[in-house]
Symmetry: C2
């Protein structure tokens, strides 16, 4: 593939998945365990995924668009809480899975709402349906791993021998950075 | 509107809403309290709604497509349970609200799953993420009215003076029929 080869010279890596698997001709799939410093440091990654990429595009009207999950949760929650305190409003966009509800997203959203709303009097807080239900989920699962291992995505990853991705993703606060998405780039 | 007038002669009524309100030129909105026997008996209703109509179109590959809610819940659950026993599979399509998650739908889906799965050993039951969470919601609300009154749709209806629609819709088993959708018709 000429296009791929040319991109590589310019410090660009193609990454992405369809049905959890690496796209043919791409250097990287979508497994976090592939994105190691020795592979990606200093590179620009062109990433195309089934659910996450469209969600970021949908969220692009927000300023800033924070990108997060269990892996950077404490840092994410701190940034989100600061923004909420300043603006009294927070929109959480879940990527979902094949345009359907995804448990791991809703659980993460619930954890974020719980962290952000701490100290806000209930009467001053308005939660939409999805927020109400996401918040309720935080009491239903013991921890990140418990929630993430019970979701459909985890079952699908296990089927294609990527179960280790779930354990990797469920380990909280691996990173203390909060990537920001703007102009179709995450930096 | 000539089209409307002509349709009326043929025993057809136009019904539907945009943002909860009757569409201009239509005889009926989307309030169940308008659909009284003296108005609709023997008539064919052309119905266009923001969420319910697209959901039915999306569900049309199913045979049969049952239509239900609190108002015909016992009858609906009986039919669904019989089908599930026969086929070991059940797909529930929620209409949602403006393409987003809607609490009233998820609660209803959860009640249906609970009724349908009665007696099925947990190990023989596979629930996807949305089904898992919907089922969990059944324990969170006291009854239909409790769930339906706390949803975004109820707040929006109250804003346009249609709060009575919520109470109407939350009264279980008003009807013992299960309408079926096929060929773009509910009969």
């Amino acid at each position: 593939m000429r296009l791929t080869a040319n991109l590589e010279k310019n410090g660009i890596l193609l990454a992405g998945e369809r049905k959890s698997l690496k796209i043919e001709g791409f250097q990287l799939g979508n497994s976090p365990r592939e994105m190691m410093p020795e592979v990606v440091a200093g590179k620009t990654i062109f990433l195309s995924t089934t659910n996450g990429t469209p969600a970021l595009v949908a969220a692009q009207a927000g300023t800033p668009v924070l990108v997060g999950g269990a892996v950077n949760f404490t840092a994410l929650a701190e940034r989100a809480r600061a923004l909420f305190t300043e603006r009294s409003d927070l929109a959480i966009v879940c990527a979902g899975r094949d345009k359907q509800f995804a448990l791991e997203d809703a659980y993460t959203a619930g954890r974020l709402i719980k962290a952000v709303k701490k100290g806000v009097p209930p009467k001053q807080l308005q939660l939409n349906d999805a927020a109400q239900v996401s918040l309720a989920l935080t009491a239903r699962y013991k921890n990140w791993r418990d929630a993430l291992e019970q979701c459909d995505a985890a079952r699908q990853l296990a089927e294609v021998d990527l179960a280790a991705d779930v354990a990797f993703s469920a380990k909280a606060d691996r990173f203390a950075v909060v990537p920001v998405y703007a102009d179709r780039r995450i930096t």
